[in-house]
Symmetry: C2
Subunit: 206 residues, 2 copies
DNA sequence: CGCTAATCTAGAACAAGTTTCAGACTTGAT
DNA sequence: ATCAAGTCTGAAACTTGTTCTAGATTAGCG
């Protein structure tokens, strides 16, 4: 596997400079509009206009609104992973560190709830045509969690626990975004699910 | 709280017979179209035509496509809860019974994957305007799980565990529907998360 | 029965995602 | 520098969810 920016994307044809710039302008416009009014506020015509690109071009870069928003999420996730790396969590147990990390991410999302709404809704609404991109987001999330656990090569059990944590994370986020769960509840649920980690830690049979 | 059909819905104005019939026709058409081609195949004009109702009327009964599909899900969930009641799960532990119940539900959904797709996508895409209906679905799901646990009054911890199980259930379903997880993986994740139940059972500190 | 308010119907109109197309511009290779 | 292939632009068209309107029907009531 050749060294490549953690960004991923096989880079089937390396974009020229101007193309890279267009791509960034589009993602920036997308995030900006999303921050304003969430999923609905990201209108393809407006994204095109804001990023100084023809509508057809926008669709060449991102074949659908969902693709665009999922790519926006990848972009934001990288930021976040970078930020988290700088200040690793300090808890004693793996479970505690993961919970701390997720709550930190959660607080970051709280600062831009509309953006969070747009990204998460796109993510869960995505159909099979977006699977590769969604998968990439999922791998990135997994990496963040494994980082917090401080684990190099997890057992299958632990991987399952991590998947369950991700499930809970996404779904809890949705219930919070749609106003059906309080922040406190999200916190409790995150902490609850993180106990699964200790449960699957071979060293620490409670 | 007055006794009312488990169906819910405060019944602000009791529908006449013809109205009730229209409502059923609509839900039936919705489920039928969904079974064919999933979320996208449920087109409001087609639902209206199939159920012999004007488009405006359809929108009077269900104020959006998402409302319609969430109502369809409520409908199906009731069916399922009824079916499950008849053959309660037989496992020894609460965790086992819940896992068994969920996997049974999962197999039922497998039989109509397109319908499952439509319902689950609508559920997670729903915004605040659909919260009451989504909440109702969530309560129904909770009831099914608590039934399987054989629990009358759960502790807050147990409620959190149940919420986490629901999160996992929904999210795992989505990853399966979008082809990003195998059935085997869903099974493992369900079983993994169900261990939380034993973990929070006051009687059975493993 | 006859009236009134609510409901239903058919169909047009509107909004936003997506597709299409003809022509202008870039790029890379020769 | 020139040409071919690929890309970008602007604008219109198409699709499907949603709203609106005018007139027909129905339900409940005196």
């Amino acid at each position: 596997m050749p060294a490549e920016a953690s960004t991923s994307r096989p880079a089937s044809s390396p974009l020229t400079e101007r193309q890279e710039a267009r791509r960034r302008r589009i993602l920036h416009a997308s995030a900006q509009l999303a921050s304003r009014g969430g999923f609905d506020a990201v209108q393809m015509r407006e994204v095109a206009e804001s990023s100084q690109v023809a509508l057809g071009t926008l669709y060449r870069y991102f074949p659908s609104k969902v693709h665009l928003l999922v790519a926006t999420m990848q972009d934001q996730l990288e930021h976040m992973h970078g930020t988290l790396r700088k200040k690793p969590p300090t808890g004693d147990s793996a479970a505690g560190r993961v919970a701390e990390t997720l709550m930190r991410a959660f607080r970051a999302l709280q600062r831009e709830p509309h953006l969070a709404d747009a990204m998460v809704r796109a993510l869960t609404f995505a159909d099979r045509s977006v699977s590769p991109e969604v998968d990439q987001v999922s791998r990135q999330t997994t990496a963040i969690i494994l980082d917090a656990m401080g684990l190099a090569d997890p057992t299958p059990q632990q991987l399952s626990a991590v998947r369950v944590i991700e499930h809970t994370w996404h779904s809890a986020l949705i219930t919070w975004l749609s106003g059906r769960a309080s922040i406190a509840q999200v916190k409790i649920d995150i902490e609850t699910v993180c106990r699964l980690i200790d449960l699957t830690d071979p060293d620490r049979r409670a």
